[in-house]
Amino acid sequence: MNEVALQVKSLTKEFGSLTAVDNLSLEVYRGEIFGFLGPNGAGKTTSIRMMCGLLEPDSGEVIFQGGKLVGICPQETILWEKLTCLEQLEFIGEMYNLPAKLARQRGDELLSILGLEEKRHNLASTLSGGMKRRLNLALALIHDPEILVLDEPEAGLDPQSRLLVREYIRSLAQKKTIILTTHNMDEAERMADRVAIIDHGKLLVTDTPEALKRTIGEGDVLEIEILSIPVEQALAIIQPDFPDIQVEGNNYFIRAGGIMEKMSSLFDAIKKAGGEIGEVHLRANTLEDVFISLTGRRLRQ
């Protein structure tokens, strides 16, 4: 049975007339990576700020089972520009009541793991954006927290840093409970054991990525751009064989099993009716599809 590390009960936060988080309840299990997926402004950051005690909720409660040692890596890089990498790790370590020697030792270790060992005596102001993000993460880990909260951990990272950070977070997951927020479905899908999809402050659904994808049907998704014929005519051609279809402008999202075998005859039928085929993408179901099926909108809209 999964052991609960963090329990959130009916958390609500309003800013004036805007309800940023609306009666949010969920459980995070010990040792899992729990992803908060939602578009910008969905209430993800507000939710985790309340979970970490940085923001007082209007109502509801957050219950930490067992330890309450939390590390948070905010979306913005929050650093002391005039301190070196090691100095700020030492400083924050000491703020968590670590002995100076241990803080320094752990700081050295983290810098090494995150590929910043050569920058240990460099001022934060001299680091590149990706390095700053990595240092930002190190600051959240200096006191070896039981629960690690990562707000958009891959935002602003260069591909090399992204890979490094992703691998490191995965390695941490074996020892810690990790909560991450993201508006990036790939990131959530790759990283999270379970995903909570949130929109307009409301929790829509919580489950594993695979289970969530299963809820919207089996098979692949064919994204096809059809030009020169009206939507009604295009639908008349497609729908008899592919009833699960969504339309956005000239783009048609067709979900079906074994779609590869039927693609050729579909394209022929469209061309025969005078249609032109623009861009074509074939992919597996994603969390984005889940989000679309739940809200009727894309994550980035």
Binding site: W80, E87, I92
Partner: protein, 388 residues
Amino acid sequence: MRIWSVIRKCAREQKRDLWVLGLSLVFAPLFVFIYWLFTGGNATTSYAALVINHDEAARFSDGVMHNAGEDVILAMQELTFKDGSPILRVSSISDRDLGETALRDRDATLLVIIPPSFSQTLANAQSGAAEPTTQVEFIGDLTNPYYTVAAVMAMTALDGYAVDATGEYRAVSLLETALGDSAARTEFEMYIPGLLVLAVIMMLFQAAMLVARDIESGSLQRLKITRLTAFEYLSGTTAWLALIAIAEVLLTFAVAVAFGFRSHGALWVAILVGVITSLSIIGVGMIVASLSKTVSQAFVIANFPFGFFMFLSGAAFPIPMNRLFTIAERDIKIIDVLPPTHAVAALNKVFTLEVGLSGVLYELTALSVLSVIYFSVGVWLFRKRHLN
């Protein structure tokens, strides 16, 4: 432990901001140096007096013709401070309009017009005739604070000469006793307490902006998660700023002494006053920081207490205030909530009036109480607004 870590963090950050640290440290010493240059080092205040002498010579009882007006001018020129420097810089002119223009432009402080009958009237009085009297005219801008001093000094010279010349019996003689070393203070020395207090007041900006930098950058949010308390954070920051203030006060004294400043009381008492004053000013800086979200906001807000400290504390000029209440036979006024009020009073006592620690105990106590109050309010506000 955590307070010490905050001090070390502040020190490290400041180490990389040597320009700001340097400016903070040299601000007051530089002003001392500039003021020394302006005042000519040891010079005392000398008041420019213009004299129009219409006097016509008359024969006195010794049978010699005298122009008493010229003697009065000489008597005015001979008035000196304890160090021998002249009190009045006397110049003779012939045109009243020119003299009044000089007064309006503050090129001169006083215009004295001696009438044609001056010598004759004195000669008559010498021979026993009481009538008629003659009238010497004093002209000046009464809103100019220097006028009163110059006029009193010129009257003293004139009156002394007239009494001596006529041999009148003087029933009352006046004895002036200068408190402490007040008769021998140079203009440069008189302004040192004010400059020192100004240097300490300037800590207000540094204190407020140092804390506001952490608020603006968001790093305070990170500290919030560590459960660092407002008291710990502000104590560490205050301790670091106090170290800078001590260095600044010592440096200012060192420069002042090097340029001839003399303290007649114990210098360490003055330094103690400076340090405790800086703590109270830093306390106000913490309140300002608590009310700010950005460094520029802190700067703007800090101008308000700065204005009060500079112009309403009595540090720059006397402020007439009614007492609010009395404690231990001391009248408490509204301006007593401003630390510079006590700092200037204490420093003047130490420097000029030769008092020791016991003589400034009241001011030190007031400064200490204000420091505690301002710091506590700062902590309370900071906890409420930033580190809750």
